[in-house]
Symmetry: C2
Subunit: 281 residues, 2 copies
């Protein structure tokens, strides 16, 4: 396992961690001042920006993009809505390519509105991904399937486990021709008794590694994540497995924290992020 202590060039900050307090150019500058090696921006932050300007700024700062967040949900009641989502995701791949993003992060969607049919939801997602793969290949931006915590299955992600994500990779891109892969997020997966065996199975499919911590108690299903060290996840052991499987990319910190971290100012969050990744990841 790599020694990442005090090496912020190996860290990436998902901009959600900062609570969307400031513009992307300001975030990039603040990260550059601290020697942070990567960011993971959100598409909404790029609205109204010239993407090429952002790309230039990133290059000048030697900051890479560990992933572009995130897909429009693939699940929807009508074929027209599903096609619109695929079109939006196709366009997002172009933006990801302009930024040189390591991958395009997929939060796939939960149950279609009004439905309780999980199998149908999963079919819709796989169909959407299948249609996107050629464009992923053309742009050179791999698609990263991110299994989300089962508590989000109804309204955010019918993709819940790493095993399931890898089964979909095997189905949709058996030979790896399209580079389809997975994101391993400790917050979503730490509880899984199969986590280590599925990480080993994933091998080169691992396109991103996300860290944060599980708080006890957790009071919100989406926006109550902790900084590494605030909670109970043995993050370092998971990183050990991920790197043993071959991952050597950045360690991306992604926190949603309406009651705590988002109430702090951006500089404090960034300084703490570096300390905590160094100490607990």
């Amino acid at each position: 396992m790599r020694d990442i202590t005090g090496k912020p060039e190996l860290y990436s900050i998902n901009t959600a961690t900062l609570g969307f307090q400031s513009s992307l150019p300001a975030i990039i500058d603040a990260c550059a001042q601290r020697g942070i090696g990567g960011i993971a921006p959100w598409r909404k932050e790029l609205d109204g920006c010239h993407v090429q300007d952002i790309a230039r700024q990133l290059k000048a700062c030697r900051i890479s993009v560990s992933g572009l967040c995130r897909s429009t949900f693939y699940t929807a009641p009508t074929q027209a809505e599903r096609q619109a989502a695929i079109d939006e995701n196709r366009h997002a791949l172009d933006i990801a390519a302009e930024l040189g993003a390591r991958c395009y992060m997929q939060v796939v969607g939960g149950l279609p509105a009004g439905s309780n049919n999980l199998e149908e939801a999963r079919r819709q997602v796989r169909e959407g991904i299948r249609q996107l793969l050629p464009h992923s290949h053309d742009t050179g931006v791999p698609i990263a399937l991110e299994p989300l915590h089962p508590m989000t299955a109804a309204d955010r992600s019918c993709l819940s486990t790493l095993r399931q994500a890898l089964d979909w990779c095997d189905e949709l891109d058996p030979e790896g021709d399209y580079g389809l892969g997975v994101a391993v997020d400790v917050y979503h997966l730490w509880w899984d008794p199969e986590l280590f065996s599925q990480i080993a199975r994933a091998g080169k499919r691992i396109l991103a590694f996300h860290v944060s911590d599980w708080l006890v108690p957790t009071v919100d299903l989406v926006n109550d994540r902790g900084m590494p060290g605030d909670g109970v996840i043995d993050i370092r052991s998971i990183r050990h497995q991920v790197e043993s499987a071959g991952y050597n990319g950045q360690v991306e910190l992604e926190i949603f924290s309406s009651r705590n971290w988002w109430t702090k100012d951006q500089d404090q969050i960034l300084d703490t992020s570096i300390e905590r990744i160094s100490e607990y990841c």
Copy 2:
């Protein structure tokens, strides 16, 4: 699949559903008036009761006990605490036997206080169950391992999936000599892509079937369950699988609902329970 519409003799009410508003004898009477065939009481409700009196009342009302809730957590920092938990659970098996309970429900515990070692937690649980199995056999009350939703992994249950529960059954009671089995609770398991295949694998190991519904949004990780029909779980499809696997016991309604159902009076909850099981399960 059985037709359970309008057949309350096939339903069981977990007393938690009623918010612990009244005494167990009063609950039993209220269930009997409605022709409900079973209850699942909690150990704390039996404190200060003569268990034999409860058993007599149940028999007179022709109400069976679909399960006794629930185990003292097996996970703890010290050997002495873990042994105390095993002793308490041994005593609870005696009570379950006096009530003629169909099984003794296991909520196994999360991480030991101060620990982030899930593997150790799981080892402690398996060791505790292993020690209890002979007494389970002697009392004639099978132990039901209940996988809980992964969102409870830190503080309630390091047993999170049906696959994991069945792996433990295979390890601890490979030949079924002790009757070790599982509880299938739709609330905890509905999201699992392996649910149907693991239910088929479970077969005769299924000792209990619990229903409730997943609300969108869910605002509390423990006490925000819906009545069948309030949420998005396709309960009937899961019951179909459970019965195809051989289960022919009662359908037990178990709800924790601090913001809704627990604010209603017991009669209303019971009447609605019957309607909803009939219509949605």
